[in-house]
Amino acid sequence: MPVQGGPQGPVWRRRTGPQALALWAGWLLLVLLLVLTWEAMTANQIWSFVWDAPRQAGDLLSRMVPPRWSYMERLWWPLWDTINIATLGTLSAILLSVPVAFLAARNTTPSRTLVRPLALLVIVSSRSVNSLIWALILVTVLGPGLLAGVLAIALRSIGFIGKLLYEAIEEIDTRQVEAIRATGAGPAQVLDYGIVPQILPAFAGITLFRWDINIRESTVLGLVGAGGIGLQLKASVDTLAWPQVTLIFIVILATVAASEWVSARVRARLI
């Protein structure tokens, strides 16, 4: 913290001259970068559409209300499908991600140089591709339908559950493992009595959290043809049936709120 001489004695400053200059240059670069990217991004933008946006928004709103409640009778099945996609997807992801997590954790992996990087690669590639993109791929492979949605949710969730679970495994108390081993337990028994009880609460929390997210994501998977209520959403948007779109939004929000309530209740009971 430099002190600089001023006319009325020394004045405290937070940074030295060069530090302040570097900071200023950094900000300048950042602003420059932002301006450049903004220019590049909006080069092809038709601005008259944008200035028209408030009127468009008002117009859209007037078309969206009141919601077409009678459409509800055609939403029950897609809603059931949506919940199934999320639940089955989460369950399949659990089956696939638990082994991956044990292979990725430093203290349980069979080989740190060979197996662990592979497991981490699985986790990273699963995490960096959104479930909607997974669905896009799977729909072209498997055809439109619920199966593509379930698999998309599962593939995206492997990385999420796997990452959080392997971090939980790495943080376990080694003394408990040692104590179980000292009783003469085999590797499977050490896993069953020494490691699993320690990570079970974290595991329950992670999977519930992911199920919650998956309900959210499965509502839009239908946009690319992977089943669920998103199919109805796409059909309604494409035919500009905005009162139906409003009803679908309401149903989606209600489902998300309900799933949050359910997972909060279950979490409170389990953990």
């Binding site: 970068l33 932002l34 990217t37 903004w38 590049a40 991004m41 909006t42 092809n44 933008q45 038709i46 559409f49 944008v50 946006a53 468009q56 928004a57 859209l60 059931w80 499908d81 199934n84 639940t87 089955l88 369950l91 990273v124 590639s125 960096s128 591709v129 959104n130 909607l132 993109i133 896009l136 791929i137 072209t140 492979v141 498997l142 055809g143 339908g145 619920l146 199966l147 379930v150 003469g184 085999g186 499977a188 028994q189 959210r216 994501e217 509502t219 839009v220 946009l223 690319v224 959403l233 948007v237 939004f249 989606i252 929000l253 998300v256 709120a257």
Partner: protein, 277 residues
């Protein structure tokens, strides 16, 4: 599991079983079986509702193999112009939306921190955060595309809006968790509201703000790859086109590039966060 035979059996005392058993998760056996049967029943119904079309899935194998071969030999060259434009657009969208989102979410976060703001303002800001969090990016993108037309501007607005919900919530929680002693001591020097904020609050939450912003930049890039599917620009639009044309090589190249960019941003943001803390 083999029973350890070498341990001498303890004589049973007054008929009580001497082997320890793990207590079950649900103590009441009726409730336990009800839960198990319910879960099995649900699973049967859910799997039955999948409505598998085996002929189509069998047909899918060939396509799956082609997709896989596309991944093994990704085609970066034939659509390079489009891919490059899409990636740049996505990066621009992510960067500008994160900057705008930060600028918007700081005041919202201040309003949503109970230790800084009055109750009506607190409720309004918390309401805004709840709305932003509960609407999925893709859905917001549909609305913005309907309002401002196709293109990256709709994506920018979507991501900025989504950033508010994320950043303002976590920042507000960080502000609520600050040490009140520092704020009080700055206030005791006679500082005004701005000065208290500048010297008492900001230094305490700045590392967290930087970390969260970088994390959000990461998320925004990933999301920018998705909202292109509904017409909000970015590399998602390029990917969608490639899939529609069955150009699996190009699609694979795009996916590999997305993963690579995500890895790089994750690594960089991790490095910066470590240095800030």
């Amino acid at each position: 599991m083999p029973e350890p035979a070498s341990i001498p059996a303890v004589p049973p005392a007054s008929g009580s079983p001497r082997t320890w058993r793990r207590p079950p998760l649900v103590a009441d056996w009726r409730l336990r079986w009800l839960l198990i049967l319910g879960a099995l029943g649900y699973l049967t119904l859910a799997i039955a509702s999948l409505d598998l079309d085996w002929a189509r899935i069998g047909e899918g194998w060939a396509r799956g193999l082609r997709l896989l071969s596309g991944f093994l030999s990704p085609d970066f060259t034939s659509r390079w112009e489009d891919i490059q434009a899409g990636l740049l657009e996505s990066l621009s969208m992510a960067l500008t939306a994160t900057a705008a989102g930060i600028a918007l979410s700081i005041p919202v976060a201040l309003g949503a921190a109970r230790n800084l703001s009055p109750l009506p303002l607190y409720l309004a800001c918390r309401g805004l955060i709840a709305v932003s969090r509960s609407l999925q990016e893709v859905i917001v993108a549909i609305l913005f595309v309907a309002m401002v037309g196709f293109g990256p501007l709709a994506g920018f607005l979507t991501l900025a809006f989504a950033t508010i919900g994320f950043l303002a919530k976590l920042l507000a929680e960080a502000i609520e968790a600050i040490d009140p002693g520092q704020v009080e001591s700055v206030r005791a020097t006679g500082a005004g509201w701005w000065q208290v904020l500048d010297y008492g609050v900001v230094p305490q939450v700045l590392p967290r703000l930087i970390g969260l912003s970088l994390y959000r930049l990461d998320i925004n890039f990933r999301e920018s790859a998705v909202i292109g599917i509904v017409g909000a620009g970015g590399v998602g639009a390029t990917l969608n086109t490639a899939m529609d044309r069955y150009e699996y090589g190009s699609a694979a190249a795009i996916l590999i590039l997305i993963v690579a960019v995500v890895l790089v941003t994750e690594y960089v943001s991790g490095w910066v966060r470590e240095r800030v803390h």
